[in-house]
Symmetry: C2
Subunit: 220 residues, 2 copies
């Protein structure tokens, strides 16, 4: 195995609960009451897909303008609720170890700039790192496009890439991309949900993953 492709929110930075709560408030302000846990279980898919799926679950259809307005409001609330971003334990150290050992890695996120900029800064991600975001591809997770675009830019064959993510959408998209995946509990999913979605291994967070790189056959 020669490369790791990372999801961002809930995998490398501790942002899932702020996202859940910002979506919940944005929906509530529009008169759409949606349960927190149902939002949580959809975090990681694209914002547009999420807004439509959530509205459908409430038995409502929303148009493109309403969808865009919900996304806009979610972004505002999110930045207000979480002005600073914090790497999850071990994330910065893990990336440093990969770099030091010549293991290729990139980030593939359903998030969009400028929302993700602060998270990338907190992780000390510079211009040398491959980052594929929502706008770089036609379709976000659970479609495989983000991971395939990242893999193509890294120049590593599909069969030699691990996807690392906290959500079932990462694992589903990884499977569709033909890649093995590693699940992390740091996004708040249960271990069974990640294993049932095809995770090859599940670790608590990037700190535990960091100490388990040998198990994954990644270090030289």
């Amino acid at each position: 195995m020669r490369a790791m492709i990372f999801d961002l929110d809930g995998t490398l930075v501790d942002t899932v609960y702020a996202h859940v709560f910002a979506w919940q408030r944005a929906f509530a302000e529009s008169g759409l009451a949606i349960d927190g846990w149902r939002i949580h279980r959809r975090i990681g898919m694209s914002g547009g897909l999420f807004a439509r799926a959530a509205a459908r679950e409430l038995g409502r259809e929303i148009n493109a303008a309403q969808e865009e307005a919900l996304q806009q409001r979610h972004g505002e609330l999110y930045r207000q609720f979480l002005p600073e971003r914090r790497p999850l334990p071990g994330a910065v150290e893990l990336l440093a170890t990969l770099r030091a050992n010549g293991v290729a890695f990139g980030i593939a996120t359903s998030g969009r700039r400028p929302e993700i900029d602060a998270s990338l800064d907190a992780l000390h991600i510079g211009r040398e790192t491959v980052v594929i975001e929502r706008r770089d591809v036609a379709r976000a997770k659970p479609e495989p496009d983000l991971f395939l675009a990242c893999q193509a830019k890294l120049g590593v064959p599909v069969a030699e890439c691990y996807v690392v993510g906290d959500a079932v959408w990462d694992l589903l998209a990884a499977r569709r991309a033909g890649m093995l995946s590693v699940g992390l509990l740091s996004g708040g999913y249960g271990e069974d949900e990640l294993l049932a979605s095809g995770a090859f291994r599940v670790y608590r967070d990037t700190a535990e993953l960091h100490h388990s790189l040998d198990e994954l056959g990644l270090l030289p």
Copy 2:
């Protein structure tokens, strides 16, 4: 089976994610950075126990005054983030069905008044309903005291009470009280975590539980 004893947050009202986020901000303001998912997995134990456990995980000890200050700040942020409370789907209808069929029920929560008042109002819980809160017992969940106090007040034998909760702390406390328990996914735990903690059955939310009362041998 003759009675149901309900947890409140995440079981009957959709408040878990607001609690998680309020705790996360309260800790962050005190210079204590704690991962969202670790907070989530501790929601439902008493606030005091929670604050001490979280600080210990960060390698810090906190004194009684700091613990009280954290709880105070959590309460303020929680009420600010979530001014209105919303019953989870089917909760109000489920309680009405129990009432109409003469099935005893009560609420046993690690929460405290006045924080829980708005939630009880949203559920149309009147003075006729048994409510045991944090201050009514010496020890909160995962100790069995809250459930045993509720059961005693209902006057139904332990062996004829179900506990209904969303957190492993409810299920652990139920086991220690000698009661069967039902887990709900509406607090955001995974099904495996609830089953592994001893849930007899797991449903999505109170709406699904409502339609499954016959499975539990509760209706006459």
